[in-house]
């Protein structure tokens, strides 16, 4: 066993001067960071920045051209490292020609989970009602739920989730974020998203990737501006939001104490019959990371 294969004392993810890419074309350049504390780490960056390449490299799918990745002290080309990871690709990763339950049984076989675990995630992700349906009969959102379900089949110490809430309706996305938040109390979760509101809602740290390099790694609260303003866009058939909002173009604006006040605002608006088409943060400092 070489020096680099020996388990290191430190747990979590250790990414050391990693350069990686596809078929010799470099995408990530000299990325280094260390993650040890359980939390949600949001990975942000514009399209093509290298987020998916980073996830694939951490998951051991892509071999780095230079540098090394350690998972709980094991280099990530070893099974001991892979046994500590869950990786959810931005693709469904759903095998064709199977029913929902059969697909989960397929995942359970790969992940050495039990039939009881399959039943548990059917309830957890509320997919039992279409457990007997063929995957080809499901909507994109339902397929995503099946795909997300598999990361809850077995417990692992690190979760790499590449856009886990894309294609999901707001209610289900919120429920899944809630599950992930619960998970992050004891586990490390790397989470990529294009939804900045979502990123601020669940992330404690942000890793910003720009041009294949790590542009920022900091606590999200350090990035927050002094004001938190949300904009609400309503359906044409909806009444306008009540007083307390100012109008700016299609949006009704309101300043809130922070992101934690958003669910209460949504509840309040819904109870007053306001039909929300979109809700977004109007001055999210994370937007700067995309420019």
């Amino acid at each position: 066993m070489g020096t680099s294969e020996r388990p290191r004392a430190e747990g979590g993810i250790s990414c050391r001067a990693v350069s990686s890419g596809y078929l010799g074309s470099q995408v990530l350049r000299e990325i280094s960071f260390q993650i040890q504390d359980p939390a949600v780490y949001v990975v942000l960056g514009p399209n093509g920045a290298g987020k998916t390449t980073l996830f694939r490299t951490l998951a051991g799918i892509l071999r780095p051209y230079r540098g090394e990745v350690f998972i709980d002290g094991f280099r990530n080309d070893r099974q001991e490292a892979l046994d500590r990871l869950h990786y959810l690709s931005h693709m469904d990763g759903i095998p064709n020609g199977l029913r929902v339950r059969e697909a989960l049984e397929f995942y359970a076989q790969v992940e050495r989970a039990s039939p009881a675990d399959v039943d548990r995630v059917l309830d957890l992700l509320e997919i039992r009602e279409f457990a007997g349906h063929f995957l080809s009969q499901l909507s994109a959102g339902q397929r995503k739920r099946v795909s997300v379900a598999r990361v809850f089949l077995r417990e692992r110490s690190i979760y790499l989730l590449d856009e886990p809430t894309s294609n999901l309706d707001p209610k289900l996305a919120r429920e899944i974020r809630s599950l992930i938040l619960e998970l992050s109390r004891e586990k490390i979760v790397l989470y990529s998203s294009h939804n900045l509101f979502e990123a601020r809602e669940i992330g404690r740290y942000v890793l910003a990737i720009k041009g294949g390099q790590l542009a920022l790694f900091d606590r999200i609260e350090n990035l927050r501006g002094s004001r938190f303003v949300v904009g609400v866009r309503v359906l044409e058939s909806s009444p306008a939001p009540p007083e307390g909002f100012t109008r700016e173009g299609d949006y009704y604006l309101r300043e809130l104490p922070g992101p934690e006040a958003v669910p209460a605002l949504l509840y309040d608006l819904e109870s007053k019959g306001v039909k929300i088409r979109e809700l977004r943060e109007m001055n999210n400092p994370l937007e700067d990371l995309f420019t």
């Binding site: 892509l62 500590r84 931005h90 693709m91 759903i94 199977l98 790969v110 050495r112 989970a113 548990r120």
Partner: protein
Amino acid sequence: MNGTLVNGSPPSLLGITIRRAATSGRFFLVYGTVMATLLSIALAATGGAAFSSAIPLLLPIFGVVGSMGGLMVFTNDRLKGVLEYLMAYGIPPRRLFLDVLETSLLLLTIVLGIALGAGVSFYLARGHPLPGNFVVFVCAYTLPMSYVSSAFAATAGMFWTTLSSPREGMNSPIGLIPLIGVLPPVATLMIVVLVGATGTVTPSGFFEVAAAMMTGVAVFVVVLLSLTGRLLRRERLLSPA
């Protein structure tokens, strides 16, 4: 969350790959099996030389078509990100490749088993004694040519899939590989027919041509398989971003 941290080698997925291939490739499997079986029974009904010479020559063609399910699983899994998922859990590309190859050969065995079993049973039931040259023909040509051609179709199809942009339809590997996979037995037949037209073909001459064809294809397959580590880069198995 239930469960404990897992450790150990990734499990074998051969069983579930076979099941999925039989489902995904059921059209090819049913088509190959039904055509081969009907042909086998029809020729058995005529008795004599038509059965003992035509069946061994034609079965490899239907066998290759019937074994396409393995390649269908591979192509679709690449497109949907399943191969990426499996690699993340420690299943190496070579294992994925071999599972599909073994699956294809097993589907072929099903087609051959049913077609040969039905044809021979019908032939014997009609009171014909099984010709000795039929058994020789099947053992020396039908079985090896079928397995070599099916392995060729699966291996070439997987390499083609990984080297091309993911796509579906008739110009995809799945659309064209059945035609390429049946090339060895069809080429053998064509060579024999062309040489036979000159009046120079003999039974031993046929087996020489067939043996040369099978050896050439087998070497090609073995070379491709031995190069999987070098040619089959992990990036090639990823779903499109």
